[in-house]
Symmetry: C2
Subunit: 154 residues, 2 copies
DNA sequence: CTCATATGGTCAGTGCACTGAGTATTTACG
DNA sequence: CGTAAATACTCAGTGCACTGACCATATGAG
């Protein structure tokens, strides 16, 4: 009987939170476009013509995952990908008109969805909630390469 | 220029938090056993002999995902699965000795890892952090079937 | 007892997410 | 100029996560 209480494990709670979010997203926002796909569209609305690597940096996705998400958005006709003339390694990404329209429509719905998701918290708690998650995520993120010092044995 | 600030989107932050957690987990806890696998082991330490469905309920996983995770744990020899004699639909799950040992070892490491993950927060903030995530996740969870009322058109 | 319904599990399909290896292009050093 | 290092991307492999369709066993109402 050495079982642990998972409700004190942030990783476990993060997973459950994401599932809750996924549930609301598919019912209230879209069944076709996913949340990561929206994040990519959003990054390109803010900064058209980014390459894949930079998009990944903006939305927090690694190169392989960006490639997959981008492929799906292109297949749906929301995105164009053209080789950079000045640097042949890069692909420059740009929304199609359809992509811009889709992003606009989803923006409204995501706002409504976030309201529902955060409904159990009052205004102060919401601000704290977002800030604490951000701080924890940022801290661990900035710890990517620098410190393989705490690596486990075996 | 109708781009949105993703730092105000709980779903996006939840995903980033989970990635941060995943990063720390693989370096500080285990490269073989994943966090969901540990959750299943932990549920069976607390309540040996559960069936798959109930395990899923305890750790927040759907039946298909539980089946996959269980299959991997069996392949690693950490778990046994036997048909319930009293109800031929069920499979009863039980840890092997090796499974118990593995769980015990990981428990220590997960505690250390959680310390590092929560390092950017002070003690009060940690308590608030866990409680707020739990409340939001629970609320959305309890909204599974009852309310397809807010479903989006199209 | 019989048949409709619940329930536990499996399977196929889709999508996110990471790692590690490999390819192509660019850049920087000698 | 020429080659080594860095960079952008692709590809294969593994694992989580959900849905919807399907199968088998149980159970409850008639």
């Amino acid at each position: 009987m050495a079982a642990v209480d998972l409700a004190t494990h942030p990783g476990h709670l993060a997973r459950r939170l994401q599932q809750a979010h996924h549930l609301l997203w598919t019912t209230m926002v879209s069944e076709e476009i996913t949340s990561p796909q929206f994040a990519v569209l959003n990054a390109l609305v803010a900064e058209p013509g980014l390459d894949q690597r930079t998009v990944g940096e903006r939305v927090g996705l690694d190169r392989s995952t960006v490639a997959e998400v981008v492929a799906r958005l292109i297949r749906r006709g929301l995105l164009d990908k053209v080789r950079d003339a000045r640097d042949g390694r890069r692909f420059l990404l740009r929304l199609t008109d359809e992509g811009v329209r889709t992003h606009r429509g989803l923006t409204v719905r995501t706002a409504r969805m976030n309201q529902v998701l955060l409904a159990p918290l009052d205004a102060d708690e919401r601000a704290v909630f977002l800030e604490l998650i951000r701080r924890v995520a940022d801290a661990a993120e900035s710890l990517r390469d620098p410190l393989p010092a705490l690596r486990a044995p075996h």
